[in-house]
Symmetry: C2
């Protein structure tokens, strides 16, 4: 799949209820391992959650789809993710460069997922204390993000907008998701 | 180029002295525009710097290649970047999610660049006050990162390492750059 196709990737919140192979999860982790890292320090660590019970527990402490709740809140066993990849690090690493590293790693994993027919939802709004307990992380570690994933059961469409238009994604009458993204002319200039 | 090829992307610090077309710069900006953003808010803005004089001024206020200085410090007119893309935002947006957004946008731009034969160096260590002045940004804006870019004049090699091995990149006797990246087994587990 060439990069133009990969750029059709969108956030996926509803998933088919079929398992994701270890091979595809490993490829996502490889994409994360090769992402750039400030001063090449690579402080991020990854925990993959595949068991239905633990996936459900993480789902329960996550909030997502703010503009399209409750319609797009996934339901375990029906539309929920099949796995999570949690990004975590030592608490003393929590600074702006770590979040930048995490963004790059998530983006790389999302492209890997999309190339193999998978979709992801990058979750930043969740109960971090509860997630740490569910993942059995030691005292000094902190969870930064969760990446929910599985085979897409929805097909969100991008809509290109100008700078002043609303960025709120929305469901149309057929419950299809539309995601406004700025046109390049709205966010970039040459100087 | 499929994603396996894109994962061969490495940071590039030495560049050929030939111009980068607007078409390729626009493709990079499109890759940034389509990157995920927390709550889809898209607060990041992009300034492309192409003129030799302004590229030189930004180069002078940047520090890079910490482990391989001074050998890999680019020299304007010989090995320096042909353009910079600066990522900036309103000062009140400076929080962890903005840095995560920026990481995702940089990763997406780096893959777009690599697909088209370009290489990038993601610069986080620079004089932000000076960069803001050089870019003529208004008072309320802050520069987060610079992305130096051009056609690669070096071919860094990745070396896979275990958790306790050194992450310091290095030049070999032939002045080729080697970049240690953790193996997946060193940074990820299944629970």
């Amino acid at each position: 799949m060439d990069f133009t196709e990969l750029l059709k990737r969108r956030t996926i919140r509803f998933f088919e209820q079929r398992p994701v192979s270890r091979e595809l999860l490993d490829r996502m982790l490889e994409a994360a391992a090769l992402a750039p890292s400030a001063a090449n320090r690579q402080p991020l660590r990854y925990m993959v959650v595949e068991t239905a019970e633990t996936v459900l527990r993480l789902l329960r402490v996550s909030k997502y789809g703010g503009y399209v709740a409750p319609e797009r809140i996934p339901e375990a066993g029906k539309t929920g993710p099949m796995a999570f990849i949690a990004l975590y690090a030592k608490a003393e690493e929590l600074q702006s460069t770590l979040y930048a590293d995490a963004g790059a790693a998530v983006m790389s994993m999302e492209f890997s997922a999309w190339e193999n027919g998978l979709g992801c939802c990058w979750v930043g709004a969740f109960d971090k204390t509860a997630a740490k307990r569910i993942l059995n992380l030691p005292e000094g570690d902190e969870v930064l993000f969760l990446l929910a994933l599985g085979y897409p059961a929805e097909h969100p469409q991008v809509e290109r907008i100008d700078e002043q238009e609303s960025i709120r994604y929305y469901l149309d009458d057929a419950k299809e998701l539309h995601v406004p993204k700025h046109k390049v002319s709205a966010i970039a200039k040459y100087c």
